[in-house]
């Protein structure tokens, strides 16, 4: 039998009780305003956060970036850290599901109390948290996404800075090359149906490239494609396309080449956006299909791509040399094979260290944002163009050079001497960039501040 008293209580008393409970709980739960000290920074440590797909269909390749970054930070720490503070990188796996990214971001911010977010990977996933991160004033540095929407309006996202050239910039520069060199050819494109693929198409169109055949690589990135790219390649072949542009990830490029190979389709020229042109991934996937490295290297040879940094295959580049050495010594990830992703991770580690050194001992969130925005020129890296940060844009590298893979899977400049081109993410012209990259120090640590 139930308690009669509780049964006979009037509804009003319930509501008032509820109100009291509610108010009481609210009062209890009000959290005091943020303390004076900067989160994630202590006398001995700087905690940085990063989220990326470490597992799941979208993870391949990208899941090496964090290990490379951590390897570089470990190297810095082994040299005494930044002003005595060791850098700790907390990495969260969001499996490329935006619903989860919100939670991992919250964990980094609230649980791990990171000072800044560094090098996060992914466009869709980052969209889901970028507003919150910016609202909280948390530095959102060196984001691994070429989506121009993040960077071109600093008023909207004042704390977010990129780590790649935007897809549009790269596509415009490649587009100029296509216009100049393949004017008489029939051009077709296979692209991913997301921001990356579409921005690429948009950039190429801005540069005046017209496509005879435009084919989507479907939701290739979701790892759910059923039959490689047979259908797309067949259609390009049917349209007599002899210059194929690939605006998709490396596994899609590998699939496209296999599919083309299968139907005896030999386009005169493959042109691949840098994200998809990673030689190691290309060779690994084909290798597992039983294609010998020599054969896959031959398949890759002649492919045109662009890059903002030296090719990982340029063994005598001083940055490549230094990074490679650190990678060999410090990378504890499951797959530390030297490639574009590792190079990118190392470079973000280097840039982050530069920025932390540049701000000085007194490390605050607004401080580092202001410093990075104002001192892009003081932050050189392996990249062959300077950072493009300013109060007007937070795009990272606006310079790309165009190369062609040789028989040893090294991207070699198409011009006799390497020419770097630059442009903006809007309608601006493509011009040549004159930039001399400062040398790397003997200890491979940035010398700033």
């Amino acid at each position: 039998m139930r308690n009669r008293a509780s049964l006979s209580r009037s509804p009003r008393s319930f509501i008032s009780t509820a109100a009291v409970v509610l108010a009481g709980a609210l009062a209890l739960s009000a959290v005091p305003a943020q303390g004076a000290s900067t989160p994630g920074v202590s006398a001995t440590e700087i905690v940085l956060g990063m989220q990326l797909p470490q597992t799941g269909p979208a993870s391949p390749g990208y899941n090496k970036v964090d290990d490379a970054m951590r390897a570089y930070f470990d190297y810095v720490n082994s040299k005494g850290g930044v002003y005595g503070r060791k850098i700790t990188l907390v990495v969260k796996d969001d499996t490329y599901k935006a619903g989860l990214t919100v939670s991992t971001a919250s964990a980094l911010i609230n649980k791990d109390k990171v000072f800044a977010m560094v090098g996060s990977v992914g466009t869709q996933t980052h969209i889901s948290v970028i507003k919150d991160i910016n609202r909280r004033g948390i530095p959102d540095l060196f984001v691994n996404s070429g989506y121009s929407g993040f960077y071109t309006d600093p008023k909207k996202y004042p704390t977010t800075f990129g780590a790649l050239g935007t897809y549009v910039v790269e596509a415009k520069i490649l587009g100029k090359h296509i216009k100049e060199n393949f004017a008489k050819n029939t051009v077709g494109i296979v692209y991913q149906t997301d921001d990356f693929g579409r921005n690429t198409v948009e950039g190429l169109a801005t540069a005046g490239v017209t496509f005879t055949a435009k084919k989507t690589a479907a939701t290739f990135i979701a790892g759910t494609q059923g039959s490689g790219l047979d259908a797309q390649m067949q259609q390009l072949k049917d349209n007599n396309v002899d210059v194929v542009v690939v605006g998709a990830v490396a596994s899609a490029f590998a699939a496209a080449v296999s599919s083309a190979n299968k139907i005896g389709y030999k386009p005169a020229q493959w042109i691949v956006i840098s994200v998809g042109a990673d030689a190691t991934t290309f060779q690994t996937i084909l290798g597992a299909r039983g294609i010998a490295p020599a054969v896959s290297a031959a398949l890759l040879a002649g492919t045109i791509s662009a890059s903002h940094a030296p090719s990982p295959g340029e063994a005598d580049d001083e940055f490549v040399k230094a990074y490679k050495k650190i990678n060999d010594e410090f990378n504890k990830g499951p797959d530390k094979r030297w490639d574009n992703n590792v190079l990118q991770g190392m470079n973000i580690g280097y840039l982050t260290t530069s920025a932390l050194l540049g701000v000085g001992k007194d490390l605050t969130r607004p401080g580092i944002i202001k410093y990075v925005e104002a001192n892009a020129a003081k932050l050189p890296s392996a990249a062959l163009s300077p950072l493009g940060y300013s109060t007007k844009t937070h795009e990272a590298f606006t310079g790309f050079w165009i190369g062609k893979y040789d028989a040893t899977t090294v991207l070699k400049p198409v011009d006799a001497t390497r020419k770097v081109w630059t442009t903006d993410s809007a309608k601006g012209p493509v011009t040549e960039l004159k930039y001399t990259r400062p040398a790397i120090a003997a200890d491979a640590l940035p010398k700033v501040g």
Binding site: R2, A18, A25, L26, N110, I127, D195, P334
Partner: protein
């Protein structure tokens, strides 16, 4: 001939209200002891709880197994986001309208599903869960493809801050989700305590006998889909309000997560739905806390939550299919 009725005069609404108030009080108390991260997680629990309730109603109460509730959540999310972005509606207006949208989707799905049973229904809804998100790319100009539609809960209104002080962003997420979760709980409890719930359970147990009791079960089964879709749609709208409405927010795995939560907690009980949600949301953190003591590679620790929750699901089904809440709770005893 007439036996004297000994039933107590008690109102169903009042009983549900009592549950709801207890629930709200418990949440607020828990929130007050939580740090910001766990407050945000608690908000996720509240949001997904509504989605799990949709599974409880559909599968536990009326016996129709759907693996596509995530698709209905997506419908709710997209409706809301489109209204907020294109029409500038506030979320308090957009959400109820979004619920109507998802109810319509539920009606279509229910009409298709009414002919299906068991594995046919499960498989078809799974295909739906997979196919619906691809519409985002099909209707690029409106639905914005993979990038999706960014929305969020915004800031609390002035009267709120005047009354209760400035909440943190996490708290505000929680306070937005709480009334909806409370309403969902209240309504679900009402349904279960009255004729409608009894009718649905009767259909689940024996369609023929239900029909002989005057229940048009094929119509009711469609109707359950509609009701379940409103819950899923609400949950999906709130889930989208965490930052983004897009295909990667409502993947197939979300549908399976809802089902896992419902089964772990107890597929026939509201309490079970809540417990199950708490388990699936906090499990990764608990596992993290345990694994932290061991030096495990990223590879292992990343997959551990999925492994543990899958094993829990199998064990629950094999050992105690009634879940944590057990079966006794759905015997609505009236004393």
């Amino acid at each position: 001939m007439r036996a004297v009725s000994k039933a107590k005069n008690h109102s169903i609404a009042r009983k549900s209200l009592r549950r709801t108030i207890f629930f709200v009080a418990a949440i607020l108390f828990a929130a007050s002891t939580f740090d910001a991260y766990n407050q945000a997680q608690l908000a996720v629990v509240l949001i997904l709880f509504i989605g799990v309730l949709s599974v409880t109603l559909l599968t536990g109460i009326s016996g129709q197994l759907s693996l596509g509730q995530g698709a209905l959540m997506a419908v709710g999310g997209y409706c809301m986001a489109l209204l907020m972005i294109n029409q500038n509606y506030s979320l308090w207006v957009a959400i109820p309208l979004a619920i109507v949208g998802s109810a319509l989707a539920g009606l279509l799905l229910g009409i298709a599903a009414a002919r299906l049973t068991g594995p046919y229904l499960a498989g078809t809804t799974l295909v739906i869960a997979l196919a619906i998100p691809t519409l985002a790319n099909r209707f690029m100009s409106v639905l914005k493809g993979d990038e999706g539609l960014p929305v969020d809960v915004g800031y609390p209104p002035v009267w709120f801050t005047n009354l209760f002080g400035e909440p943190s962003y996490e708290q505000w997420q929680l306070y937005v989700a709480l009334p909806f979760a409370a309403i969902a709980l209240f309504l679900a409890s009402n349904i279960l305590l009255s004729r409608t719930g009894r009718m649905w359970r009767a259909i689940r147990d024996n369609e023929t006998a239900a029909a002989l009791s005057g229940v048009n079960f094929s119509r009711q089964k469609i109707f359950v889909f509609v009701v379940s879709a409103t819950f899923a749609g609400l949950s999906g709208a709130l889930y989208g309000l965490r930052g983004l409405v897009g295909p990667s927010v409502y993947p197939v795995s979300l549908s399976l997560l809802l089902l896992t939560a419902a089964v772990l907690g107890g597929i026939r009980s509201i309490f079970g739905a809540f417990i199950g949600t708490v388990i699936v949301v906090f499990l990764p953190d608990w596992i993290d806390a345990v694994l932290h003591q061991f030096e495990l590679s990223e590879q292992v620790s990343n997959f551990m939550p999925a492994l543990v929750s899958s094993l829990l699901l199998i064990l629950t089904v094999v050992i105690n299919p009634a879940g944590v809440a057990g079966t006794h709770l759905h015997k609505h005893k009236h004393k």
